[in-house]
Symmetry: C2
Subunit: 120 residues, 2 copies
DNA sequence: CTTTTTGTCAAGCGATGACTTCAGTATCGT
DNA sequence: ACGATACTGAAGTCATCGCTTGACAAAAAG
């Protein structure tokens, strides 16, 4: 990638703080929602099927799903009376972009202090 | 795949729900803490230097730093009266492992439904 | 048509969390 | 020694969040 398009380095940091990432990380902050993501990673599921192993109400799962959908981690579609939920790639891609930017950032500005003898 | 090392597929999902990831994602859930990470990605900083552009108290930053340190996203060291903070690789590696597992999971169990005509 | 299943809406409760103030400790500069 | 700087700890406030209950709507099953 050339230095042609895209904002400057400093502005990229600001980009990372957009409301998009705000929703994304807030969604990932709850363990129940991550459990839902873990379940959906194995394949699509209905709302009540998601609620069963979680020991919470179907209503609660519905609220979680709304958050997950707004952050593009889950996509749902209602057919008849059953809503089928599946993983949405968009959220995960955004997450990977976030981690990638930070890793690249502090690997470039590597403190030349020599005291960082990290593992792996 | 031999049954030699590593837990079974189903158990991996459980691993992802360990207290380690609990703390990690809870730490990432707050926008102020992510702003701190963005700042530290550009190089080490003191506590008060972190507080300046954030419009919050030094005490608040100290509390955030404790959370970030417990989740292995930041490492700090006190020299004299100033505490120097820098990025800790461990937390980011854990995050990449989490995303990687999920991506691999739903790319394997790809719904053979044909209705997933995703972008990129 | 009646019943059961599956999900949605509205309101409310309890707990957690982010931030503040105030007081205290230790280090640096003069 | 004195004052300024850099941080730490305890306690309290206020908003947000996860979850529940209860009432409701609509599709499938009998």
């Amino acid at each position: 990638m050339g230095a042609t398009a895209g904002p400057a380095r400093a502005e990229l940091g600001e980009l990372m703080q957009s409301p998009e990432f705000d929703r994304l990380f807030k969604a990932l902050g709850d363990p129940t929602r991550r459990a839902i993501l873990g379940r959906l990673s194995l394949g699509p599921s209905s709302v009540s099927a998601l609620a069963a192993p979680l020991d919470i109400t179907v209503t609660a799962v519905g609220q979680h799903l709304q958050v997950l959908e707004e952050s593009r981690l889950v996509r749902t579609a209602k057919a008849g009376r059953v809503r089928t939920c599946r993983i949405d790639q968009a959220g995960f891609s955004a997450l990977e972009r976030w981690v990638g930017w930070h890793r690249r950032a502090w690997e470039t500005h590597l403190d030349r202090l020599g005291d960082v003898l990290d593992e792996d």
